[in-house]
Symmetry: C2
């Protein structure tokens, strides 16, 4: 099944306590595509923009996996270039610079042959542009959307206009609270659902992720890694694993979204094991299957219900 | 099975955005006993100290459930009295005062008939006193221990001397990192295990709790409450539910600790629904069973392993 992803195709320079990587593949669309293309039947179509300095050849490994990069526009100027430095505990980072370059004027143009995409992932860009993308596509079965504090604050009206057209909103816990202006996550999720999305995915980094549907909540723990190498892109890889799984099996009655949460978490956990999208170059189906099984084992218990006073 | 708990028997005045409660039952031993005494076969024995101002009659509901309060010493002076105020989001609080009163000179004396307790829970007190308790008991099958940043910093030597005699250390994530002086939780847990405890329980508040055994990790999510009423005592109620379950079914081969984590989380989630230990006065076995089942459903998923490229 086809998945259209619209997002950033960037270059990252990353410094961590364990080393650094210079001008490597980054951006939401790249991490998403690297993870989503692992799934059988997921035909990923990327729309983004790069400058004339972008190392297009480096994207070759995505093409080889069937990712359609023909929607990446090449514009005159510099590519989106982010430089960041992670602190000792890897939970916080400083942005050294964000050079938007050609991304500053990004106006997504969805190629004719991408418009019938069944699933759409709107990476973290201006909600005005996200709306514009939805105006260009036919009638997707499933629309998932990422956003961030910057847009919640600065483009709130556009975001609220977008929500009724979104099936799955993916945010982190702080963003959910900010959007709903309420400290309680359950309340915040319900608030968001009342404004459109049938499902809300709340990402909590090392604390895992939660899926809110109409009635229930699904919870997947953070994968306990002995060493996080580079946290960049974990959220987008999560989205890629999540949407890739759904493209492979279909959203079904909604139960499939629970498994998608686990595949997304697995993808996110692999992303942080290496710089850039590098871990996805070598990842095998068996490694993914094993990690999904580990997630299951981490929450499995049997109990004696007779232990309580009658 | 008998569980000896040594901890604070206090009075709390609590202010939350939803109301306030004055001079109500508080302290680790009370919350622990209220939760642990729900379990069949768990005979809870409390050792603590109160001043001559303590409303002993208020503890009647614990005695009625078979909690043995004969180890609570009555000393001349004021009882441990804590006053706190929770902020809007209930995740942070200000301590208005901590009046230790007679608790400042607390020297646990374990009554003769408590010394053969099979399970021991060392509430959050000076590790020097926790060691002293262990010197007074016979040969408990299971020793669990709580501690906090204050002791990790100020009584580190005693704490490190205590660890080899502890089977289960219960701390929160910040305390685990502080104790092991390492930002990675998995690393911190392994560091602690190398110093004695076979199991490490890491409590993460709204983010749930984790159990580290020799090889595996078990994860229980935080129970998603629409409204947290008063977070005071959640951690001690967790410990009470955890130890109460184990006293009822036995620690077995360790798998029982996974279920204990869920019963502990259920107990903690009930504790925050009312002031003080009040929720435990009315809690029914059916309510607990339902919540345990909710915890199971929150992490249950089925998946199609064929979704990954071969």
């Amino acid at each position: 099944m086809s998945i259209l992803v619209v997002g950033s195709v960037a270059l990252d320079t990353v410094e961590t306590p364990f080393g650094s990587a210079e001008r490597v593949l980054g951006g939401s669309a790249n991490f998403f595509a690297a993870a989503a293309s692992l799934f059988s039947g997921a035909r990923v179509q990327v729309v983004g923009v790069v400058g004339d300095d972008y190392p297009m050849a480096d994207l070759g490994f995505l093409s080889e996996r069937g990712v359609d990069l023909s929607g990446i526009e090449r514009a005159e100027g510099e590519s989106f270039y982010w430089k960041g430095r992670y602190h000792y505990d890897l939970n916080s980072r400083d942005t050294i610079w964000t050079r938007l370059g050609v991304f500053a004027d990004f106006q997504p143009r969805i190629p004719e042959n991408f418009r019938s995409a069944r699933h759409v992932f709107l990476g973290n860009i201006d909600p005005v542009l996200q709306l514009d993308v939805l105006d260009q596509v036919d009638a997707p079965e499933l629309v998932a959307c990422d956003t961030m504090n910057f847009w919640i604050e600065g483009s709130r009206d556009a975001l609220l206009k977008l929500l009724p057209r979104v099936d799955i909103l993916m945010v982190n816990d702080a963003e959910a609270r900010q959007l709903a202006d309420h400290p309680n996550l359950l309340h915040a999720a319900r608030w968001i659902q009342e404004r459109g999305p049938r499902w809300v995915v709340i990402k909590k980094g090392e604390h895992g992720a939660m899926l809110y549907d109409e009635e229930r909540i699904f919870f997947v723990p953070g994968y306990p890694l002995e060493s996080v190498f580079d946290p960049t892109g974990a959220g987008d890889a999560f989205a890629g694993g999540f949407m890739g799984y759904l493209a492979s099996v279909g959203p079904g009655n909604g139960d499939e979204l629970r498994a998608a949460m686990v595949y997304g978490s697995a993808a996110g956990s692999f992303a942080v094991e290496a710089f850039s999208v590098d871990r996805f170059r070598t990842l095998t189906p068996l490694e993914i299957a094993r990690r999904v099984e580990e997630f299951r084992e981490m929450t499995f218990f049997e109990h004696d219900a007779g232990s309580i006073h009658g």
